[in-house]
Symmetry: C2
Subunit: 384 residues, 2 copies
Amino acid sequence: MTSCRKTPPPAVEEGPSRLGKPVSAYGERSPLEKPARAPRSSTKTQEAASSTTPLQEQTGILTPSSLHFERHHAGVPQIHPERHRLLIHGMVDRPLAFTMEEIRRLPSISRILFIECAGNGGAEWGPKPAPDAQRSHGLASCSEWTGVPLKLLLEEAGIQPRATWLLAEGADACRMQRSIPAGAAESILIAYGQNGEALRPEQGYPLRLVAPGWEGNVCVKWLHRIKAFDRPHMTKDETSKYTDLMPDGTARQFTFLLDAKSVITRPSGGQKVAAPGFHEITGLAWSGRGRIERVEVSTDGGRNWRNAVLDEPRLPQAFTRFHMPWTWGGRETILLSRATDQTGYVQPAREELVAVRGLNSLYHNNAVKAWRIAADGSVTHVEG
Amino acid sequence: MTSCRKTPPPAVEEGPSRLGKPVSAYGERSPLEKPARAPRSSTKTQEAASSTTPLQEQTGILTPSSLHFERHHAGVPQIHPERHRLLIHGMVDRPLAFTMEEIRRLPSISRILFIECAGNGGAEWGPKPAPDAQRSHGLASCSEWTGVPLKLLLEEAGIQPRATWLLAEGADACRMQRSIPAGAAESILIAYGQNGEALRPEQGYPLRLVAPGWEGNVCVKWLHRIKAFDRPHMTKDETSKYTDLMPDGTARQFTFLLDAKSVITRPSGGQKVAAPGFHEITGLAWSGRGRIERVEVSTDGGRNWRNAVLDEPRLPQAFTRFHMPWTWGGRETILLSRATDQTGYVQPAREELVAVRGLNSLYHNNAVKAWRIAADGSVTHVEG
């Protein structure tokens, strides 16, 4: 730390005795702040594309709505909420079309929940993992979501006992469709609010299905239709995609639940540890199975592990922020983090994951992530 | 609810089969969404001014940073974080000037906390209370704040035992100053993060003092100086302002702690209850003393009260969202809400508050708020 300078240098741009800017209707961040979503580099179009949250810049557990990751299959449609309808049909006694105003009149609930793309960490399957936390883990974000329990809407429509599956469909041009076990409706929100205001357009404005702890693809955006049915529809996005090719040639399908995961966000790839001495190691952990119970951190490449401090509140299916004090001696080392959730599930090492799943997968990689600290303080990924 | 129409009308603006917008670096809300902060109408300038959060539009417990209320005494200064310093001096062994980067290296903590201006509800003292929830209660907002415990900075500087008070000063042109008992440093954050990103300029970018549960004026923005001292400094903003003139002519001073409060946000003033039938009553409650334990709602002008459902998590010194199912018969009535916090403190009726405090105050009004529902469904304030 710096000892006291006689006079701190002037930091106020317009001079210390001038009035600043007036009050405003809807604020914006400082123009000096630059964190931005990064589009996925391999994308051929910007409509069927994704962009990642700069997790390495995030404070706390909430992702700013402006920086929530994106994954669109046909771009962001512009939907007028007054004309939007949610159709509940199929194996129901009373097919219903809800207006947004009708949905807002119903009992609502708010929950702080992460949403993670099944493809998050996809690059970690290969020999060259992503160079920074944004590109390795930034297809995950955490928001407060507000909406109506899906169960309530299904009860209103009179869902029939033989309807064991639901088809959820978006109003985007590709009509994104996913099949969902009807029993999951217990915990699913039909959300219209995000972080205190209406959903952002790229998060499904005006209506999104939010399935706590399930892969993001299931959380259908621009939701306009739910069809009750007696079996899964086997849509494109649950057959050709979002499945995992196993070593024996079979495919894992309908895995839904996201396993426990963690990533150190500071220091992380692309950053520089300024100098030997005290630093706080911090990062994020989450699990689709419930609360994060423990995060262990190693500062010596995995030989020794210590429990990190976890910020409260530790909410189920939400980001949990962890902290670990660290005095860096100035020598090259490797930092790792490993999450355990309330069910006792422990985040696997990369080799443990590969032993079970092989190397043919694109999705569902939750392996322990390593960052190399070089002697000059620069932080890089560790090759697999 | 509407029964199923054969075909829902098209709601997608650009036609159902065209690609939508591409991914983007930093998202914005839909141009169709209009909630906005309202400047206080009595303000003579827009720099020494306030603006209120549209609580009646807020979902959940978190206020969007863009809609967090404002109260500036000399406008919003533009501060360059690389040149900003926090000076800790006065009765300390080692005066220190911290850079932002030095502060970010220290152990941090995140907490979801409300900030409320002591003047929130000021209009409720008079015979004509504010016509809507934004203008009656909108000088309160709730964010996730991230920063360093003040205690840690004071320990680094070696605060001396006789330093029982701290002077906190902002870098705005008026050099906003407040005296704070040093013992409060235990729970105070020196915050640089808000809702996952850097503080917004109008919330003190790059550094703000956040005192959980204390009046907003104490939460000094653009914080550049903390001086340890053996008594309060008796600054303008703790003598001529933010004190309450009592019926006996004395002034309450250094009250700091904000008592339990609640407001129904839907239905609330300026809204219209569309039709008789089912509606959800919802609103927000908070207390500087800790968690909200109970919110009672009356739908008959205070004759009968029922406990509302409280959303989890119920965090200390944070907004708590309450819900109450209500079937409106279509006749004129009055809705009220009353909060009780974990200490057993019960939000007072207006006449109970006035009996103690008289009618000379501008600040610290936490009385129960009433909304009149007219037979046509329109919602208005109830005169005192």
